[in-house]
């Protein structure tokens, strides 16, 4: 468990109401890994992601992301983490480009950075000038990923990113995630599609009854 580990969770217990969604889960993720988290619905996949995103309080145990404690310095954790749930968090009335430049202003990124992020995520000029409301699900997802790049998020937490996409769309997303890892990010994807994760992940883990089980891939 070297100090450079991006995620360092030890015996974490997270309660949803009084139900231990995470019951003494332990996990470490190193920089540059692409981890796929599997498990049935309600087993705790989303809870694990939300914990790492600094969105849930810990009942017991410890959890540090990029060296920051998820409870105490929550703001620092959230600033370095990109969490993408089912909603893309975009402004439908604005164009994709305007959404990107808005986020650029919010995080204080320069114009060049915003443009390079757009290119990296395969957003051509035509798409950038289209209103988000008129984009396809896959294009919206790509815009949301581009925003993560603009935000320079070092840990990408994606909850079922492939939901609602056709085969082509899914391959595109996988390619983008590999690009993000290549560019130095660490990516954790929660997905319950078995064959999808085989090709994508450098490591696969499973959440069963609130605990984490390594299930293959690089150990």
């Amino acid at each position: 468990m070297s100090e450079t580990s991006v995620v360092d969770v030890r015996d974490a217990v997270v309660l949803l109401g009084s139900f231990p969604a995470l019951a003494e889960a332990t996990l470490t993720i190193e920089r540059g890994e692409l981890v796929v988290v599997q498990g049935a619905n309600g087993a705790g996949k989303t809870t694990l992601l939300r914990l790492c995103a600094g969105l849930l309080p810990l009942a017991r145990g410890s959890a540090r992301v990029m060296g920051h404690d998820v409870g105490r310095d929550r703001a620092a954790v959230r600033a370095s983490v990109g969490f993408l749930g089912h909603a893309n968090g975009l402004y439908l009335d604005l164009t994709a480009g305007e959404n990107l430049s808005f986020w650029g202003d919010v995080v204080g990124a320069h114009r060049a950075e915003v443009e390079s992020a757009a290119q990296r995520m395969g957003l051509n000029d035509r798409l950038l000038s289209t209103q988000v409301g008129r984009l396809s699900a896959g294009q919206k997802r790509r815009t949301a990923l581009a925003i993560m790049a603009v935000r320079r998020a070092t840990l990408w937490l994606l909850d079922e990113p492939h939901a609602g996409l056709d085969a082509a769309g899914r391959d595109e997303i996988d390619a983008l995630l590999r690009d993000a890892v290549a560019a130095g990010a660490t990516v954790v994807v929660a997905s319950h599609e078995l064959e999808r994760s085989a090709s994508l992940a450098t490591r696969r883990i499973e959440v069963v009854g609130g605990r984490i089980v390594e299930s293959g891939g690089r150990e």
Binding site: L55, L92, F102, V106
Partner: protein, 230 residues
């Protein structure tokens, strides 16, 4: 979390809100024409210059109050459509910046609305305002809008957080902005010189608006984050 960062975020949020509003033109295509028609109809209904001049200030501010409901509703509907406001929070963007940005955008839209209405009132109801009166009017519009926007942004944020129905905003906002309605209307009456009111009498009311605006801008900056956070 330096103030310059918060100001930067506020500017970005305000610019984004105003660009969305400019693109959808709800204000210029629907809200303003509606208000203008109401002003004209009032002139038909009351058909007496004396009364019209007395009523004009109250009418301008009542129209502003109800317009603020529409503007706030839209301002936060845009945020919750694709959970954009959650994305901002999840990214650890300081809520003070988001709040101040929303308030600024609301103030701009309300002041534009009030200006058009006031000009309409001046023309339709043949009210004449001297320079001193005009300064009082502008100050009242800005401070009154600030007070309304500061509270509206908080309660608007509330309706996004919980599964709040839209009916919650008027119930919470309208009683609370009563002081703005009273203060701004009295100050506007002084500016219009309606019923012999002198301009100097308006300034104490502007003081009330300033206190109201300051209190809820401060309270809102503190309260908006926890209120909209999970």
């Amino acid at each position: 979390m330096s103030t310059s960062r918060v100001v930067g975020i506020a500017r970005a949020v305000a610019a984004k809100d105003l660009r969305i509003e400019w693109r959808s033109r709800v204000m210029t295509n629907q809200v303003l024409p509606f208000a203008a028609i109401v002003m004209v109809l009032f002139a038909f209904a009351l058909d007496n210059d004396g009364i019209l001049q007395r009523v004009a200030p109250g009418l301008v501010w009542m129209a502003t109050l109800f317009t603020s409901l529409v503007v706030v509703q839209r301002s936060f509907a845009v945020e919750s459509a694709d959970s954009a406001i959650d994305a901002l929070r999840l990214a650890g963007v300081p809520s003070q910046g988001v709040y101040l940005g929303k308030v600024a955008a609301l103030v701009v839209q309300l002041v534009v609305f009030e200006t058009v209405l006031a000009v309409l009132a001046l023309i339709l109801y043949r009210v004449n305002v001297d320079l001193h009166g005009a300064v009082l009017l502008v100050t009242t519009c800005v401070l009154g809008s600030l007070g309304i926007a500061a509270l509206a942004a908080v309660y608007g944020g509330l309706s996004v957080a919980g599964r709040g129905r839209e009916t919650l905003l008027p119930l919470l906002l309208l009683p609370a902005v009563a002081p703005v309605l009273i203060g701004a209307t009295r100050a506007t009456e002084s500016a219009f010189g309606s019923d012999g009111a002198r301009v100097a009498e308006g300034w104490p009311w502007v003081g009330l608006l300033a206190v109201f605006g300051a209190v809820f801008l401060f309270g809102g900056t503190l309260g908006f984050g926890p209120l909209t956070d999970e």
